[in-house]
Amino acid sequence: MTLPPVPRPDARLLLVEDTPSLQMLYRAVLRKAGFAPICAASGTEALELFALHEPQIVLLDRMLPDCDGFHVMTEMLRRDPGARIIVISADAAIANAVEATRRGAHDYLVKPLGDTRLVSAVAGAMAQAARERQTLACLPAPLLASSDGVFQGTSPAILRLRAQVEAMAASGANVVIHGDSGTGRHACAERLHATSSRADKRLVTVDCTRAGESELMHALFGTQSPDGPPGGAFETARGSSLALHEPQDMPHGVQLALLKRLRQDELAHQAVGRNGPTNVRIISITRLDPRSDVRATGLDPDLFYRLAVLAIEMPGLDQRREDIATLVDNCIATLARQEGKRFARIAPDAVADLSARDWPGHLRQLGNLLRQAVVMHDGEVLQAAMLPATATDAHAPSAAPGTADDTIDALAGVTLAEAERRLIEAAIARHDGSVPQAARELDIAPSTIYRKRMVWGGADSQGG
């Protein structure tokens, strides 16, 4: 049975098969099912087309004239870990299928391929890719706390931070980045790494707050001991940077193991006059101020002084209030795009409102509040009236700071039913008469509003 053709204009599919007749056959089957595959006959051609078209799905013959299909797959996954590679092979050995999966193949098809099997494998991979894209689109991007976001602005605090990062990027010494959560500490670590000589390798991150001693030992060293065979984050970060989140939360045993590894590197460095065998730059991200009493940090003092060679203090948003206008202006369009809204800019009164507020949650709190406003409203310009009182108060009526109490005062002596009516009618008015949008803002069913309006209408007619 052949699957019915489904037009997939946006589906990018690369077919890699060196036997011309088989390539022709698979292409015909896929076209009949509604796909428009791009075709390659060798590993080299496949990698060129992969770079050019960035396909979501690759049907890849295992044995190619110029190289092993597994090599091509590894290279493709290195370039785009989200690509789905379906390996086609004439070899039914389970070991090969296992090896393909271990190397990251999405599926392993053994010849002879029926048209149903071929099409369903591609359609399945395509559907999964689409679901993941959807999920990713739903994830709130850090925006303001991203590497680009944090460093925007011209306040003295941010200019000082940029200068510090630039100077420290040139050094290989361990760094402590300290400050409140939400100030963009991880983004700072990313920038520090990205502008260093280690940037050609990826920044490896370990969260020291989320694991027990044995798990953390394994995460860092790949074994239960720093003397075991190399592995874990330390090995992955060889020649690169290792970001440790809240290292003071590491169990004491792990702290000692880390200290031992750092000492080994120091000794090797002293002995041969060059970087130690691990050669990892550690960037510690912590809420603790390294200038405070070492004993109070929870870190072994020996380890503390090895980690806190250099220090960066992340400024809070209250120290860079003048950057808020730039920060929100630069992110509003991106936020709107992520949420499927039209907002292109933010009104000056809204900027003034945001600049006047307190931000204990710093960039993260500001980003959350903006997202909430974008999710709840639509239009070209984000107005002050659209801003919620707080980022977490999802259902509060929009109001400028200082007016919330006034609004409540204005309701003094009003019955609860009347207050509810005013609230609902105000929401409907804010949405140009749209009951469904008002209902969404108020988190109630549209039918509730219609029902209440019927009651109000009846009361009005009776009264009038």
Binding site: P20, S21, A28, M63, P112
Partner: protein, 118 residues
Amino acid sequence: MTVRNNQERLPEILREMGDDAVIAALCQQADADLSSCLSRLTDGGASHCEKMHAFHEIKGLALTLQQDRLAALCAQGEALCRDGTLPRHSDTLLADVTEACADLRAALAAWSGAGCQT
């Protein structure tokens, strides 16, 4: 050797094509591929690697076109290439592969020329 030119003998994947012109083009291309692979197998100058790849290509075609004997012979050829023992067995094996290929090429000609009509 007799080729029964009917729907039942047409491999499933070709049968599902449903378009005689497409089937004919595929059969002609498959014939050309078989011819090219056989040339490499009989070429004294071809390396083991090239011969193994030729066996592999024929095996892929044979599996797809449901030619079990040819696929088995090519799998044997691949294994001999991998072991480096092909020269000791090449005459017998190549004769068998050539014969099985001839059967397949005759079938392809029949499928191509007469479409898939019974």
